[in-house]
């Protein structure tokens, strides 16, 4: 165990995987030589450690980067490629959705694609809509792709290691706003299983599901709610696909209420799936309406006075919980 940042934890996972298995390589724009001289950056120092054979800086060619991963994984390698910012996944989406996600199925199970895509997500750094646009719902809607989103230092390592050694394509989302967050990290190889949510805070009155940065937004809502006598159970979802329905349904059956929080646009966001699934499968346990907290249906603006309107805050979570509690 040692104190590490979230960025260090990703770095540690990459390094551990590359030490363990020569079929693991990393590729992407600036994963080797980077404009950032910052040890909190996920690929910091890996080029020095593993050399140019295994740490591949690429041209600015997202389709080719994804194609590299699909083709190389089909040959038995375990590529870990990076898409620099989430909105650029559009450029890789044919390769990921029509190929990584489908070719195993179309092959009748003959081929497999053990690839990992790391993608940087997040909003709140004033870069606007072409750098900030969380599209996890796109990936989750695409059959054949798994997607996970760590919120803790431990899971940053554990989920990435699981993803790399998973036999299927996994998209690992990294909230850039968490890179500098510190936490305890086991030094050894350890895995957070894909498909397992975590009850971050147990509670009785209302289930709050969040992932990534939004988990901390949810956390910040707890105190004002406790002051009002409301006890929330917070679930750190971690894995969007596979989805831990058991954990979610168990919690909602207990609390009778659901609030979902994410930083993506609310409309057609991943929260819609969670809310719909619960309203479908636990309807009779619900004591109040399911509530979704997410961004309004606008692109991410640059001015921070506007960006704040985009990013859901703890007060939005509080309001949603109160509403479903009919308070």
């Amino acid at each position: 165990m040692s104190q590490k940042t979230f960025g260090n934890a990703i770095n540690d996972a990459l390094s551990t995987a590359m030490d363990m298995d020569d079929t693991v390589f990393i590729a992407g724009e600036g994963v080797g030589v980077s404009i950032h001289l910052d040890s909190n950056m996920p690929t910091y120092g890996l080029l020095d450690k593993f050399g140019r054979r295994r740490v591949k800086d690429t041209p600015v060619s997202e389709a080719a980067i994804a194609g590299l991963a699909v083709g190389a994984s089909c040959m038995g390698l375990r590529p870990v490629v990076e898409i620099m910012f989430f909105p650029f996944i559009t450029l890789a989406s044919d390769m990921l959705v029509n190929h990584a996600g489908k070719l195993r199925y179309m092959s009748g199970g003959k081929s497999s694609f053990p690839l990992t895509v790391r993608v940087k997500a997040g909003v709140g750094f004033g870069a606007g809509s072409q750098h900030s646009h969380n599209l996890e719902a796109w990936i989750a809607h695409s059959p054949g792709l798994k997607i996970v989103w760590p919120a803790t230092v431990e899971d940053a390592k554990g989920l990435l290691l699981s993803a790399i050694f998973d036999p299927d394509p996994v998209i690992v989302v990294e909230d850039m706003m968490l890179y500098r967050m510190k936490g305890e990290l086991p030094d050894r190889d350890f895995r957070t299983p894909l498909g397992k949510a975590r009850v971050a805070v147990p509670g009785t009155d209302c289930t709050v599901i969040a992932y990534g940065m939004a988990l901390y937004t949810a956390m910040k809502a707890l105190e004002p709610l406790i002051e009002k006598g409301i006890s929330c159970e917070v679930i750190d979802l971690r894995s969007l696909v596979p989805l831990d329905k058991t954990c979610i349904l168990e919690s909602v059956r207990k609390t009778g209420r659901l609030v979902v929080v994410h930083e993506a646009n609310r409309f057609c966001g991943f929260g819609a799936e969670l809310a719909a699934m619960v309203a479908e499968e636990a309807f009779h346990d619900l004591k109040g309406p399911v509530k979704r907290v997410g961004a309004p249906q606008i692109p991410v603006p640059v001015a921070s006075s506007l960006e704040k309107v985009f990013i859901p805050g703890p007060e939005d979570v509080v309001r949603a919980v109160l509403e479903t509690m009919n308070k």
Binding site: K56, S61, L68, A72, M75, H99, K110, S111, K146
Partner: protein, 328 residues
């Protein structure tokens, strides 16, 4: 290693492969005419047999091919099992891909026909990955990717050519210029007539060849494959040929000038090669007939095999999405 000097035996094998491809696809035409239940779109490569045969015959066993929507010839040249290929085209459970792929997404890793994508232009970036794996693991293989003149307009092809040029990946880009992309002529989909001229923009050799001359294709393939295999990086080959049956079996070619079609019919790679082998005394008419009959018999057997097999059980629709399955 392949011989540069072509022996009569090898010539016969080239001819035999082309005939097999032609007979196989002619049977598909017949099945479509009989309104047999072939699912999806049947997109055939009649007239382009010399490309598939010439290129694939130049490959070593460890080489990889990545194919596109017009794939039957590539796979047959690579030695695909006829029965399970035909069964797949019929979408039967015994098909190479369990009926999930049909004609358009065939993948036969057992013969190093690694992947087929029907997304136009997707092959080259996929090939980048395969060739990277070969380079990374020092496998000594080359990846060959087949794509059309139309596909050359896709951005993915540019990205793949650029990346493989930088990393010196062992890829042979084979652009089958068959004069059409759907109903569009090259002048409507390419700013230049000679697509292989683009190769120099990626620091790779680019050459064109008469795609209806199987030996010419073979020789150029050997030369360029050797270049790739030696670590020098990728190469580009444009094969000038013609799409004889329209884009697919639903296409009536109403927009095609019949004289152009007739002119190309005279340049048919199989007729040409048959004549050459006859003239050179390498095959006589009887031998040719027996090659043709043999191919027909194999194809007929494949159809019988496909016919006899069941369609996939409906519950298999839910399998093979993931290696590590879970409940959604």
């Amino acid at each position: 290693m392949k011989e540069k000097q072509i022996t009569p035996d090898f010539q016969v094998s080239l001819f035999t492969r082309m005939v097999l491809i032609r007979k196989f696809e002619e049977k598909i035409v017949a099945l479509c005419r009989e309104s047999y239940q072939l699912p999806g779109m049947q997109i055939l490569a009649n007239g382009q047999e010399a490309v598939a045969t010439g290129v694939v015959s130049a490959l070593e066993p460890e080489d990889i091919i990545v194919s596109n929507h017009r794939s039957h010839g590539h796979l047959l040249a690579r030695g695909a099992d006829l029965n399970s290929l035909m069964a797949e085209i019929m979408a039967k459970a015994d098909g190479v891909n369990c009926g999930k792929a049909g004609t358009l997404h065939l993948s036969m890793p057992e013969i190093n026909a690694l992947m087929t994508s029907t997304v136009v232009g997707a092959g080259p970036p996929l090939a980048v990955g395969a060739a990277f794996a070969q380079q990374y693991q020092a496998l000594n293989g080359v990846t060959v990717v087949f794509f059309g003149d139309g596909a050359a307009a896709e951005g993915s092809v540019h990205e793949a050519m650029n990346l493989s040029g930088i990393w010196k990946l062992p890829i042979l880009f084979v652009c089958e210029n068959n004069g059409w992309a759907g109903a569009q002529r090259p002048e409507e989909h390419s700013a230049v007539r000679q697509i292989h001229k683009r190769a120099q923009g990626y620091d790779m050799p680019g050459q064109s060849v008469d795609g209806n001359d199987v030996e010419a294709v073979y020789h150029l393939s050997l030369e360029l494959l050797e270049y790739c295999r030696s670590g020098k990086g990728p190469a580009f080959m444009e094969t000038l040929t013609y799409r004889m049956r329209g884009h697919g079996e639903q296409d009536h070619q109403h927009y095609v000038n019949p004289e152009e079609l007739e002119a190309w019919a005279l340049k048919c790679p199989i007729i040409r090669y048959r004549r050459a082998l006859l003239n050179a005394g390498i095959l006589d008419k009887a031998q040719i007939q027996s090659i043709e009959q043999d191919a027909e018999a194999r194809v007929a057997a494949a159809v019988a095999f496909g016919d006899a097999g069941p369609y996939p059980e409906s519950d298999t629709a839910l399998t093979d999405v993931f290696v590590q399955a879970f409940n959604a």
